[in-house]
Symmetry: C2
Subunit: 376 residues, 2 copies
């Protein structure tokens, strides 16, 4: 893995030095966003700051406390990365890194203005007076969009774990159990199957809560006739996937349930089928959205119908009406439409897929749990 | 509860208008830090921005998605708070609030520079050209330090739940179970007993991992002779408490284990006994720290030996050598020293207590699980 991280940092350095900023290219770059640090170093990023130095030397500065693990599972030594810790327990790694950059002769330091707070930025500016700070757009986030084979392999395992956890839950008795308990049970099963943890807080929504995208599990118990919508994902080697499914509890679904399910299923399929390299992100969103719009459910949709996944659960690209850019091959995304009818409930269906050219068989579905409407 | 929130906002407004900033007092205040929004409104703060307006009107702006719950458990209607949602799903609530402030006639808007990113701050500055942005130090955080009876009651329940969850675990068989599973089990029990969730990620550390403050549970199994250190806390009505205990697994502890335990216990007791109104925060830290220093374990200590708790798990005051300020009555804090011997393991003992004057019986211990060294 370590050569991978060295190469990623080399690419970042190259991209930044080619920047046509009004101040010219920066001669040093400071990375503080945790997922970006992890991507570029393979190290746990808690409270750290990564300086891509003016002298060709990269330094990862950690906080003073010696308590955090030094290596993640599967990581190897990276000889080209210097590491250090602050001696002052109250110190700020970004401020110390700015000082280090100035000492190493940097004059223009590019920083992640979308991550640094105003207060930290000001403290950095005041500590190193000869140093100017510039905005680093989001080159690391851009680098992270297309995944390499090892990253996709980690996502594939995360999805397998997720499918297993969900499959086991479906075999158990659900009626009478609370949303909270079902969510905890799913999270336990993710760990049982080898996940580092949940990719995001597990969502279990029953009855009139079903179909809500951001619902937080309550003490409501599963009842006969409910829609039950679940959304979960495993994290494996840092990579996070997402699945969402909706079931009917008890005997046979009612007509409105079947209709709504079929509609969301059709929308989700339309989105999946639109996933080809070169397709505009907004067009994928439109493919999903227009099915629901046609049925009068335009209002029920959130701002996006999918998003990239990787070291974070919500990454670029975003699949929304206002999204810019086109899809590339080897970009993992979710397709996740849903309709919630207030007071009644609803349906969500989420998959994680990797964009692939038609010649390679089209989009690779990672989350393979059935999307038939199961009556449990 | 709603009158409480109205009064909290009135106090904030009063404090801000008395500010002797170089630009004069701000005529509007924007609050974006989630815990601060919750403190001032009782509402879920996800992605929201709270404008304390120049016209005496307070407005809580939420994101466009209609998916978040509108009320937290136990909250009531607050007639004096206007609420709104963005119409643009891609919009930023802070930027919209700045616009609203300018429209309402504000000329100087105080913002939380310790929370806002540089990028959001810039977007706010550009949207409302007649409006200047000033730094709002941390008046809401300062208001949050001393808790009222209702807040302390919530913390007391959180601590009860935590003690129950921990007590049940101690009655079960521990040998052979992994850190990960024990942590999940504790989290499930917190929910069983009525917690909204964990106050922070539960830490279970065995053997050579024991005594690490920020250890993340691994697949290591509990073995005979291990130290087992756990750290957990419930969240109840938004309020978070913390307990930490260390046990010995199996028959009788070894001598070094008893010695180390007694030492950390003595340090923790010294810290607890130093908790009186008017005591300097750094002196409480010193009381804890000097016991360990005297035994040659100064290096093993982290930067702080305790901190405030409330809507966040790490709040003001901080109990550390560099801390400023003194304790007040009705301030809940943790006392949490620990010593980790690399390669060997260690001990942590954490309590949550409320500072009370000696006339009221001294510090109120919320987390009452025994601190004897139990051999399990």
């Amino acid at each position: 893995m370590s050569e991978v991280h060295v190469a990623r940092r080399a690419l970042l350095r190259e991209r930044c030095s080619a920047t046509a900023a009004k101040d010219g290219p920066p001669d040093a770059v400071l990375v503080t966003r945790p997922a970006n640090i992890r991507y570029l170093t393979g190290r746990p990023p808690y409270g750290a700051a990564l300086l891509i130095g003016p002298d060709g030397i990269d330094t990862l500065l950690g906080p003073a406390s010696d308590d955090t693990p030094h290596h993640e599972p599967g990581s190897h030594h990276d000889d080209e990365l210097r590491t250090g810790r602050l001696s002052n327990p109250e110190g700020d790694t970004a401020v110390a890194a700015a000082d280090l950059a100035a000492t190493a002769g940097a004059r223009l330091l590019a920083v992640e203005e979308h991550h640094l707070t105003v207060a930290r930025h000001r403290a950095m500016a005041s500590v190193a007076s000869g140093l100017r700070l510039a905005a680093l757009d989001s080159p690391v986030e851009a680098q992270r969009v297309i995944k390499d084979d090892e990253e996709i392999a980690a996502l594939r395992i995360a999805a397998e774990i997720t499918d297993q956890a969900l499959g086991e839950l479906l075999e158990s008795i659900l009626v009478g159990r609370t949303e909270r308990h079902l969510a905890l049970e799913l999270e336990r099963r993710l760990i049982d199957h080898g996940a580092e943890g949940s990719a995001f807080p597990t969502c279990v929504a029953t009855g009139r809560n079903s179909g809500l995208a951001l619902h937080r599990p309550t003490d409501r118990r599963v009842e006969e006739g409910d829609f039950l919508s679940v959304r979960l994902g495993a994290q494996y080697h840092g990579y996070r996937c997402q699945i969402g499914r909706t079931f009917v509890i008890g005997t046979a679904p009612e007509d409105w349930q079947v209709e709504l399910y079929d509609l969301v299923f059709a929308a989700q399929r339309a989105g999946r089928e639109a996933l080809t390299p070169g397709m505009a992100c907004s067009d994928v969103d439109r493919a999903t959205r227009q099915v629901l719009k046609g049925a009068g459910h335009a209002e029920a949709l959130g701002p996006a119908t999918g998003h990239g996944v990787g070291l974070e659960i919500g990454e670029d690209p975003r699949l929304s009406p206002g999204a810019m850019g086109k899809l590339d091959a080897c970009v993992p995304v979710t397709i996740e439409p849903g309709v919630h009818l207030p007071g009644q409930g609803g349906v969500r269906i989420d998959d994680t897929l990797v964009v692939r050219p038609a010649a390679d068989g089209g989009p690779e579905l990672l989350t393979i749990t059935t999307k038939e409407l199961l009556a449990l």
